[in-house]
Symmetry: D2
Subunit: 192 residues, 4 copies
Amino acid sequence: MATYSILAISGSLRAASYNSALVRAAVELAPADMRIDTYRDLEQIPPYNGDRDTESPPAPVLALRERIRAADGVLIATPEYNYGIPGVLKNALDWAARTAIGVPALRHKPVAIIGAAPGNFGSVRAQLALRQTFLWTDSRVVVKPEVIVFRARERFDDAGNLTDESTRALVAELLVALARLIALQRTAGDAP
Amino acid sequence: MATYSILAISGSLRAASYNSALVRAAVELAPADMRIDTYRDLEQIPPYNGDRDTESPPAPVLALRERIRAADGVLIATPEYNYGIPGVLKNALDWAARTAIGVPALRHKPVAIIGAAPGNFGSVRAQLALRQTFLWTDSRVVVKPEVIVFRARERFDDAGNLTDESTRALVAELLVALARLIALQRTAGDAP
Amino acid sequence: MATYSILAISGSLRAASYNSALVRAAVELAPADMRIDTYRDLEQIPPYNGDRDTESPPAPVLALRERIRAADGVLIATPEYNYGIPGVLKNALDWAARTAIGVPALRHKPVAIIGAAPGNFGSVRAQLALRQTFLWTDSRVVVKPEVIVFRARERFDDAGNLTDESTRALVAELLVALARLIALQRTAGDAP
Amino acid sequence: MATYSILAISGSLRAASYNSALVRAAVELAPADMRIDTYRDLEQIPPYNGDRDTESPPAPVLALRERIRAADGVLIATPEYNYGIPGVLKNALDWAARTAIGVPALRHKPVAIIGAAPGNFGSVRAQLALRQTFLWTDSRVVVKPEVIVFRARERFDDAGNLTDESTRALVAELLVALARLIALQRTAGDAP
């Protein structure tokens, strides 16, 4: 039985997305005691509207929050759009960051960040912006390793398999770090 | 006849949004030779999907791009969600920043930024993130004055009218700066 | 005997600095099992030069690194200069982040950040920039509470005593969070 | 006679600095009507201290401010230290951004940014941080092209000559953009 259950979210809706491919690689590379489930309903999340953020939010929002709450940790794969977080991903986080009842789903939640982009610097700026957002939500974000898959074309085959060995090793290392962070939170209580 | 036509976009979908109220104030405070039209279809913009960003993008996207192209400048009113740009606003900019045909609507476009938030620092971080995005799009963003309406509750009346005189003066000053930037681009050619 | 020994660094050289005053307040507000020593040699740190960052670095650099290594945690009080970290503070961190021998002094080091500024938003942007730097150093930075002392003039008396009760409570809360982070690292091993 | 006089500042003190080498390349690549003088006294700038920022600041500060004032534009070459601006460079800008008499030297000053680093992403984050600082100073910063010389080792020969043709072309293009920005400011008045 899996000791660590992770919810993975790819910030891209493209069918052939490198970030979705990176999530698939993470599923394969997860340690034996980790199960990574992939969130596939990003497109269903409505645009954030404070007036609808009530005790009865839209059903896809409720489902997203529940899945984050149920998971031990979250893995985010972020493209970089226009030097920032894709709006579609940020919009989902905007809903996940709040709640009209109880504690927001992301509060103190262990999080790991990965990201792929076609260009030389892609995802560097998006990942920094994501870390800034997780500061607000008071999530627990793994610091190292940073997994920044630049020039993604060179690291995946045509079927979307992550073939670059050093990137595979880095993703595996990140998942171990995420597991350690979760374990630490369980045994020793939450870190500030 | 208006010499400067501006498209204003509020990044909030709330009915009683301070940022939409700030846009209404800007409409009133515009100099005589400026007309500000308010974009009201933010909620219709679908989530950005590179696979749909073709020569025939979704109709609301096409309309947004056309309106930005037709305007001499853009005024953005941004809330701050989770230390960043609201996903819903960023998503619209993600579409506006690209195009499968011709030149992206935001390229070299004069832009002015305003923002309101209930808290002490609200909108500071979102405005910095917006400026980073407009760097990618190579837009022409007014530098000063920065209009950061913190503790918005104290500056609007219950009907959503901007009552704070110093904020009104600042918005008016920003619009004059936007007009000057447009005029400069017209007479002297575009700045790098 | 103190269980937690903290090195506090104020990023300002002004005699009447609010940030140095904030450090003095922290010394008073520290929990009984914490001792905060104040670093006073910032002005002696030479400009960072990679050619001098050898096995025999300048004496003040060696001393700074040793004091950070010897401390259980670091408390940084940062002014904001020109929307960023004061150069003088960043320069000291540039030295502390590296080492020609062994492990850099800041690696995995628990860190807490405070900051004061005269203006409305002062220190918000500097604190975000600092967090970005501590990401590189792989330090362990307390996330909450954030202690951002804006309009500092209203919160200190003329002798530089922090008189604002809610700010005092916040500083005390931050120091407790720093102690918990150190305790966690001791008992459970380091967090990723 | 040169029409455009530029002051170039390298943010690194290393003798074999890639950023100083990049400045030397810029001197060579400058258009015929531009003269680039290199600032060489960065190491002499004392740590910023508000108490010394009076009508009689330290002599090297006075000289730096005068040289920036006398120049038509400024070229900054920035390394990236710990995901940010080198403290030594930021410290010089902290002095240049202020003044006890008259207008700060950087106000409305045309600025172009370049940067080199050994790693894959080096200088990306430093350049964004620099742009944030020049927002405060209300300088006029060239937006495109961005000149981010990553894996610098591959682009310079052992004598520190910039040998990479595409980088040389990019630097030349940036200098032309800087000249155009200065020309625009002269003929049409300052942009907001």
